[in-house]
Symmetry: C2
Subunit: 336 residues, 2 copies
């Protein structure tokens, strides 16, 4: 297998992307294609023990920036690392594509260059959400800000399949984020989605309140992309805020510093539980080929894990399974 990597995407590119790619090579069997400014990539690879049998470099003269407007970026920057990545993926020259670049452009590129799975109305971003029990998957985390009930149903189906096949969760429990647990609560979207979900073949738990998300009450957290984006970013913000407050507690005086020292092991474990880099990026579910969006601020470890999941995503045949399941249900059943 072969994985294309956008070496120019993300806040720490190309350094962290290339470092992460080299780490990944130790844990995966695939070959990789680093796409980006050749000179920069070669400079990064110099002085490192690199097995060039498993690395290709594809020169890309342009870069899609975070400021670029998605559609324009994909249409105009034909020689960018992102667009060239999509080209390789589309032509089946690689098995998956990993990028930490401009999220909007990556979504647009996936739609314009790769296309949706037949029967899927809206592809969605599905990051892993760390919980007290382990992890859940959050779908959609920001690809679709205006959704219909059928979209939430698609999210539920795709998230369930990904969790089951890639992360080995049997019959994952699906919950719809709502302001209360009773049927009939909430806005038009979620009340109608509840009806559709109940009739689906998924393991539908029902409505969940945001309060219970962090404990891991369900495996698949379903919501529209606006709410999902708020959930993802707010969790990050609250955790950052609390850890920075805790840091203040630990460093306020000599006694507290000693206290913190005694707690070192446990605190390290605590920190690692909150570490998004463990889960390596979010699959974009619903497009015809495997695309993984890594966090914009990814470090080498996050990139390594994104690439690892990029390999499993393709190897396990998630997309084929989604295609089968959607065609089995019949597109008509999920039309409104």
């Amino acid at each position: 297998m072969k994985i294309a990597i956008d070496a120019m995407g993300g806040d720490n590119s190309p350094k962290a992307i290339i470092a992460g790619s080299l780490l990944a090579l130790k844990e995966i069997n695939s070959q990789i294609v680093l796409i980006g400014k050749e000179e920069l990539i070669k400079n990064e690879l110099d002085n490192k023990k690199v097995d060039f049998k498993r690395i290709e470099i594809l020169d890309a003269k342009e870069v899609v920036n975070n400021e670029d407007r998605p559609v324009q970026a994909i249409r105009k920057k034909k020689n960018s690392s992102m667009v060239l990545g999509f080209d390789l993926l589309k032509e089946n020259q690689v098995d998956s594509f990993v990028s930490a670049g401009n999220t909007g452009a990556l979504l647009t590129g996936s739609l314009l260059k790769i296309g949706r799975i037949k029967g899927i109305d809206r592809p969605a971003l599905a990051p892993i959400y760390p919980t007290q029990k382990g992890f859940s998957i959050l779908i959609d985390a920001g690809a679709n800000t205006n959704c219909k009930p059928r979209n939430l149903q698609e999210f539920a189906i795709m998230g369930s399949i990904y969790l089951e096949m890639v992360l080995n969760i049997t019959s994952p429990k699906v919950g719809v984020v709502n302001i209360g647990t009773e049927q009939g609560k909430g806005n038009k979207l979620v009340t109608e989605a509840y009806e559709v979900m109940k009739k689906s073949s998924i393991n539908f738990y029902g409505n969940i309140e945001a309060r219970n998300i962090p404990s891991g009450i369900v495996d698949v957290i379903v919501c529209d992309g606006f709410v999902g984006n708020v959930i993802l970013k707010l969790t990050e913000g609250v955790a950052m805020n609390l850890t920075s407050m805790l840091k203040g507690v630990f460093t306020r005086n000599i006694m507290s510093k000693i206290g913190a020292l005694l707690l070192k092991g446990g605190l390290k474990e605590f920190k690692s539980r909150l570490d998004y880099t463990e889960y390596g990026g979010a699959p974009l579910l619903g497009v015809k080929r495997p695309v993984i969006k890594a966090h914009g601020s990814s470090n080498a470890k996050a990139i390594k894990n994104a690439i690892k999941y990029g390999e499993i995503f393709s190897k396990k045949g998630v997309i084929e399974k989604i295609e089968q399941e959607i065609s089995r249900i019949g597109v008509d059943n999920i039309e409104e």
Copy 2:
């Protein structure tokens, strides 16, 4: 002044409600009316040093439960503590009304029994949101799950006035929760709301991402009630999850227990920063008389603070100011 208190609302009623009311009497000048089952209330008051000059009891034969459907509860349970509270408020026999009971019923009762301020389309719940800097106000936290841009504008105006008058924040900064900060981002509601806000007399900061809410990036956090409810409950959930994980860190072995002991002072401060009971309930802004919704799981301290804010809410003339401001802008200007 006189404050009516629903002695039967909330998970810990009537015990915590009455204990909180007695605490409040030490910090406020108002008289209070405890509404609920007379015998239960009298039993609670027995054996306590109570100044009966400042306490009235109003017997209520019925109780609105959390399972009751809002409209039915208000229409049918005419002798419930909640409905009797609204009656007192409506007849100007009290200056504000505090309840920790069924949120939906309280909202419905406010609309049916008290009514909206002229020019306000949708009243909203506005709890205090603890931040790194101190606190912000979150509006709407769940009263309106389907909103129009003009509703968000009303929320911004009402939240600003409350913060300024009750919590002494000069010219509070207003932000709209969105999936990105740039104008034009997000769903239809927030992109249109941005336009309306920009033209308003409020101190409009712009769009904010959920990641920056806990740091206190703005004073007034504006969103529809669905998103606001998710924000409020998720913050609670993440904080609960992290503190329970931390507890595990502190108690894992003898060394960590000593460590935790050395950190005691700082941890206490840390906990108090997360303590919603400090801020005492959420005003329902946009109705003609002061209504405060206390958290369903309120303890005595939370009730005490809710009552304190109930007094200030009325005393400062927040509602009159909202009326003036909305009539100054002109209802026409906020119609779509």
